[in-house]
Each structure stands twice: as structure tokens, then as C-alpha cells.
């Protein structure tokens, strides 16, 4: 007999509600991710088929056509998987654009982290006049809605001929990444005791030697974690590239928007492109997931 007044009964109700809530949330948050993966290995006819199919090998046959279409020009002819013999194996434009993303994202990350770390070190260790004001100034540039600064930057890049160039967009991304790096790294440096370097300097190291040999090795994990966030921001950015680099040094997000924009929409190819594009970020993120919390809150939450 169930005893409604008993503690055990209410405990069981709690358990049921707990697992029900958790499962509902899990399905809501994971389904789109699963769906993207599944769509990327569906044949073209399968993608828009209703009722939808859910499990590879069980209710549909997985194919790699979409991934092939990402890297070759095959799908642009619309004849993929129909006749393998006439398949056009020319390389598509995607690898080049992915390379752009890698070059721009990579150089942004390295430069922003190096410059920002140096500035953060100076703010943390040296006496600087108006330090608080400078730091607030650096932070405040982060509040600007990108669309607001886009107009003058657009004009400026036209004036100095930086539109459609690697340098322009990279400088812009470095500038958007810098406030974050400075604030994050200053927090980390504040946590590293000064005495480490001071001891080294008593031993005859110059300040630069001490930074290079003592401080940087100590700060490296923090720098890597910060780097991941700078990379994610630059990697995923859309509106600046869309406006500033429409043709030459464009990156993957505007390219993907283009796939959807005109003509027949190839959802399978789009999903496969997204998966290829996401993979590096997801891997990097998992590598530094222990530092993630501090990163997403701009250093406001400490562990």
C-alpha cells in the first residue's frame, strides 16, 4: 500500500520529477545537435523526408555524400550519388575559406593573447597612473554593440584600403579580443605571488628574463584557456566579415549564409559543413573545459 503521508512516498515523487525534468531538458538541448549530426550523413532525398528518420543503419542508410559535397564541387551540379563515374572531383571553394578562417582565427588568437598578456602583466605588477580608469576604459570598449561601430569601421577600412584584406579583419578581431584577454590575465597574474619573480630577480635575472622563465610558464594554462575564448569569438563572428570582407578574405559563417541564401537549399551539405567547422572548436573547448567558467564570465567568477 502506498502511504501518502510517508517521507518515502514524497522522496519517490521527488525522484520521478527529478529524472523527468532532467530528461526533458536533455532532449531539448541535445536534440538539435544530434539532428545536425544525423542530417549530415543522410542522403539528399532523405533530408526533407517526412516522417523523419532518426537512427543510422536502423531506419536510414548513412552516406558520406554530404561530406564529399563539402570538399568537392560534386553537389553544385546536383548529381551527387547518382552516377559515381561522372562525378566531378574538383575541389570546392570551402577548403580555401576554411583556411581563411584558420589563418584569421589563428593569428587573431596568438596576437591578442600575447599583447593582452603583456598589458595584463603590466597592470598587475607595475604602478600605473590612472590604472583603474585605464582598465575600465579597456572594458568599456567591449560593451559596444558591434553593429554600432561597424559604420565608422566600414568607412575607415575603405579609406585606408583595408577592406577585403586579412590584415584589416584580423586587427579588428584582435581589438575585440583584447579587453577580454587583459581582464582575464590580470586576474590570473593577481593570483600568482609576486615573490616568484622577485626571488628570481634577486638571483640576477632581469625583469624580462623573470617574465620569460618564471611567469609565462606559470601562466600558460590560463593563456591557453583565454586563447580558446578569443578563438571562438573570432571563429564564429559573422556580421563584420559579411560587411567588410564580402569576397576575398571571407570566413566560413558568411559562406554558410551564402549556401542558404540562394538557390536550392542543401540542408545536408549545410549540416556537414557546420560539423566540419565546429569540430576544431569543440575539441579545443573540451581540452580546457576546467577553465571555462572563468572564461564565460569574463573573470567575474573565480574557482
Amino acid at each position: 500500500m502506498l502511504n501518502f503521508g510517508s517521507r518515502r512516498f514524497w522522496h519517490m515523487v521527488g525522484e520521478v520529477l527529478f529524472w523527468a525534468g532532467l530528461s526533458a531538458a536533455f532532449v531539448f538541448f541535445m536534440f538539435p545537435l544530434y539532428w545536425m549530426l544525423i542530417t549530415s550523413i543522410k542522403a539528399r532525398t532523405e533530408v526533407t523526408l517526412l516522417p523523419p528518420t532518426y537512427f543510422p543503419y536502423i531506419d536510414f542508410r548513412p552516406v558520406l555524400d554530404n561530406y564529399l559535397a563539402v570538399f568537392t564541387k560534386a553537389s553544385e551540379l546536383g548529381s551527387i550519388s547518382v552516377s559515381t563515374t561522372s562525378r566531378n572531383v574538383e575541389i570546392s571553394t570551402f577548403p580555401g575559406i576554411l583556411l581563411n578562417s584558420i589563418v584569421i582565427g589563428g593569428s587573431t588568437t596568438v596576437l591578442a593573447v600575447v599583447l593582452g598578456t603583456l598589458a595584463a602583466y603590466a597592470f598587475s605588477r607595475f604602478r600605473i597612473r590612472g590604472e583603474g580608469d585605464l582598465l575600465f576604459f579597456i572594458l568599456s570598449t567591449r560593451m559596444l554593440p558591434p553593429i554600432v561601430v561597424l559604420i565608422p569601421i566600414f568607412l575607415m577600412f575603405i579609406a585606408v584600403n583595408l577592406r577585403d584584406s586579412y590584415i584589416g579583419i584580423t586587427l579588428l578581431y584582435i581589438t575585440t579580443g583584447l579587453p577580454f584577454v587583459v581582464w582575464m590575465m590580470k586576474g590570473f597574474f593577481d593570483d600568482i605571488p609576486k615573490e616568484y619573480e622577485e626571488a628570481a630577480m634577486i638571483d640576477g635575472y632581469s625583469r624580462l628574463d623573470a617574465i620569460w622563465k618564471i611567469v609565462i610558464p606559470e601562466a600558460l594554462p590560463a593563456m591557453l584557456a583565454t586563447a580558446v575564448f578569443v578563438l571562438i569569438t573570432a571563429w564564429n563572428e559573422f556580421v563584420f566579415v559579411q560587411i567588410l570582407n564580402p569576397s576575398k578574405a571571407t570566413t566560413v559563417p558568411p559562406f554558410l549564409y551564402g549556401i542558404i541564401g540562394y538557390g536550392q537549399i542543401e540542408w545536408g551539405r549545410m549540416a556537414a559543413t557546420s560539423v566540419v567547422f565546429l569540430l576544431p572548436i569543440v575539441i579545443f573547448t573540451f581540452l580546457v573545459r576546467n577553465h571555462l567558467l572563468r572564461g564565460v564570465t569574463f573573470g567575474a567568477v573565480r574557482r
Binding site: G21, M36, T48, I153, L155, I202, V239, S274, F277, V301
Partner: protein, 318 residues
Amino acid sequence: MATTTNTNVVESTPARTSLRPRFGWLGDRALATLFIAPTMVLLLAIAIFPLIWSLFLSFNKFSIIKDAAKGPVWIGLANYGSLLTDGDVWARFGTTARFVISSVAIEFLVGFALALLLNRNFKGRGVIMTLMLVPMMLSPLIVALFWGYMYRPDAGVIDYYIHNVFGLPAVLWLTDLRTAMWALVIVDVWQWTPFIMLIALAGLSAVPQYLYEAAEVDRASGWFKFWNITLPLVTPLLLIAVLFRSMDAYKMFDQAYALTGGGPNHTTEVLSIYLYQMAFRDFNTGKGSALGYIMLVVIIALANLLIRVLNQLRADSR
């Protein structure tokens, strides 16, 4: 400890002095300047200078296409005047506020609830936590494009369930006046609830266990413990999360651009979309700059207000 340091000094000093420290002549003062200068120069050149230029343009009649040869013409406050008396602009502010408030409110409730659920030990917790982080790492544009596929009325999986499985009337998510805004809110909630959840979890795990134990001794109810221990201690951190989210939601562009383009009938035309169209479709550069400044003033005012509330709450909880 003291002896080891001593021997170190004795051993290393002769070697170091014979090598002479590299760049020893660089004093701390020079180094400080050297380290900070690149950051400041970049921020001044690529963040501050454009802002000043845009402030100048906002007082001018200027179109990058039509007036390219003629240059800007000073018209004083006319841009601001015409924007602030334009009902459309106020309507866009309303749309933006609707988006920010509904998405941040839902993210807050769901994220906090999830954090409460996950704030206990059970098998698979680590896996769930890690997987929940993935949405945040994705490009907002790609997320929007993919939801666009799922929202499709003919081939989308969402409507298949609503219409074919549950037998409810079909929903034209992106083209129905009543649902377009909700479609955007759902996408934002999907991507950013994990953010609130993560911060709330950090707050929850920082609540000292002995407080609960003390309450247990006094036979306090679960509800009492939640209201009097958990909530006051987690609130400051949650408000930081809300502050961050609100500022980001205010800037939202990619999702609306990719999913609805501001339509149907302007129901999802948030400020950034409106500004984008003004500046880069109609090329009203001067007026667009003025609208940008209005947006800026509003966000700075709101951020200050939120920070003040936050500090007040922090002071109270001490």
C-alpha cells in the same frame, strides 16, 4: 627553505653576472609603457577613433553612396531629432525590449532550475554538464540557420511533431506574426540557457554546507532553506549572469538576420537589424550613426543601472 635560497644565490650569481642579464637596461617604467602601448594603440585606433568619427557623422547629412563626392554636410541635431520623433524607432526599441526580456527571463528560470537539478551527485552528471556546454560554442549564425531547417513548415521536424504526431494546427514559425518572435526567443534560449546554468551551478557549489546542516538541526523545511539560504547567496552571481546575457541579447543580430530578416511585418525587427538596414541597405550613414549613438547611450545607462542594483544586493547580503 632559507638555506636552499641562499645556496641558489651563491651558485647562480657568478654565472648570471658573467652572462649579464639580457635587456637589463629596460627599467620597470619603460617596460610598463612597452607592454601597455600596443593594446592602447589598437583600442584607440580601432575602437575609439571610429567612435569619434561616428559621433561626428551623426551630426551630418551623409550617405556613403550618394554623398561620396560631396562629403558630409553639418546639420546639427537634425538626425537625432528626426529619430527621436519617429514612431518606428520607438517601436524597434519596444521589439528589442520584448526580445531581451522574454529570452533572458526564460533563460534565467530554466537555467537556474537546471542548476538546482544538477546540483547533486548522480551518475552521468559530468557527461551531461559537458554536453550542455556545446551550444554555447557554436556560431550564433549556424545555430540560427540550423533551427531554420527545423522550423520549416514542409520538412521541419518540429512541425512534424506538432501537426502530424500531436494533431495540433501547423505553426508557420517564421512567417506567422504571433510566433516569429518566439521562434527567435527559443533559439536564444537553446543557445544561452547553459550559460546561466553554469554560473548558477558555480554559485550553488559555493554555498557552505554547514548552513544547510544548521537549518537541518532546526528542522527547517526545504522551502525555507531555499528561500533563506540558497537564494540570497546565489543571487549576486545570478545577477552577473543576467547582466551579461541582457547586454548580449540587446546586441542580437545574427539570429534575426538569418531567420526572419526582421519580418514578418517588422515583428522581429530589433534595433540592430533596423540600424543595419538604415546604414547598409539604405546607406543613410549619418542617420545610422546617430541611431548607433542612441543605442549606445541606452545600453550604457542600463548597464550602469544593473551594476548599481548588483552592488546594492551585494552590500545587503554581506
